[in-house]
């Protein structure tokens, strides 16, 4: 079974740029938290921003975007299982009802 090629890792400049973007997203998250006008969309906006940061760190800093497919499967498989179990528990305990 082929596990896919491993590509060259990003340059130092790219790493610094990614870190700057992560810092900016964090600042935006906190700003969104304090802006009362955004209260109705607070949850989806914050979850989206958090997911963006998560993806950037895993994909670029952990090199999962460039590494073998097997590593992706070893991470994403259990991650999906964890998310599925969380959703099932949230439904069972009525977390989404607030």
């Amino acid at each position: 079974m082929s596990n896919g090629p491993e590509h060259a890792h990003p340059s130092t400049r790219t790493y610094v740029l990614v870190a700057a973007i992560l810092a900016v997203i964090t600042a935006v998250e906190v700003a969104v938290f304090y802006l009362e006008a955004l209260d109705p969309v607070l949850v989806p906006v914050l979850l989206t921003l958090s997911a963006a940061k998560f993806t950037m760190v895993v994909g670029l800093f952990m090199h999962l975007k460039f590494d073998a497919r097997l590593f992706r499967a070893l991470f994403i498989g259990p991650l999906f299982v964890a998310i599925a179990v969380m959703m099932a528990m949230f439904l069972m305990y009525g977390v989404f009802r607030g």
Partner: protein, 197 residues
């Protein structure tokens, strides 16, 4: 460590991939489920405490934003350390490794300060559901950060003694995977615990 010893450590599996990296990714996958269960417990019991103090009475967003920024920057230091070791620049490899550990210690200091403040305000593991789930979740994360700091300082000391070289770059990469995962978990916790109060 000599190049021969380092080469002997790079055991490859039948997949042609490094066995140590497969092991680390498998471990990280299991950690996803561990933190998933702790996050679930926190969120299921959120807002169900019958006595205070409550999250909105205690959580200090500006303070935790600073410690979050520190942990994010430690991830940058970690990738710079790995890049330096991979190109054989051990001088900067050591600097970035130490900086990563140092920022990890700053984060831990912030967590100790936060926990101490909460205890002084009357929140302990036994006070209410918020206290029990909050300390369990963030404490487990903090323990992971502490393990990471010890790991990074060990690598720094090995590098100082000339026992960590370009040939051992994979050793640094594996420590980096662990460290970035700890950062990724905090990205999730920062949003779920502090911003979605």
């Amino acid at each position: 460590m000599s190049h021969t010893e380092a080469a002997a450590m790079e055991v490859h599996s039948a997949t042609g991939l490094s066995s140590r990296k497969i092991l680390m990714w498998t471990f990280i996958g299991s950690e996803c489920m561990l933190f998933g269960s702790l996050i679930t417990t926190y969120l299921v019991y959120r807002g169900k405490s019958v006595v205070g103090p409550y999250p909105e009475d205690l959580l200090n967003i500006p303070f935790i934003t600073v410690t979050t920024f520190v942990l994010l920057m430690s991830s940058l230091m970690m990738v710079l350390a790995l890049a330096a070791v991979q190109r054989g620049d051990m001088k900067w490899g050591k600097v970035w490794l130490f900086m990563t550990a140092f920022l990890g210690m700053v984060f831990l200091g912030g967590q100790v300060f936060e926990f101490t403040h909460f205890v002084h305000e009357g929140l302990t593991l036994k006070t209410n559901l918020f206290g029990g789930t909050f300390f369990l979740l963030t404490g487990t994360h903090g323990a992971h950060v502490a393990v990471g700091v010890i790991w990074l300082l060990s690598l720094f000391l090995l590098a100082q003694r000339g026992r960590l070289t370009q040939a051992n770059a994979e050793t640094v990469e594996i420590a980096g995977l662990y460290w970035h995962f700890v950062d990724v978990v905090w990205i999730v916790l920062f949003t779920l615990i502090y911003l979605l109060v």
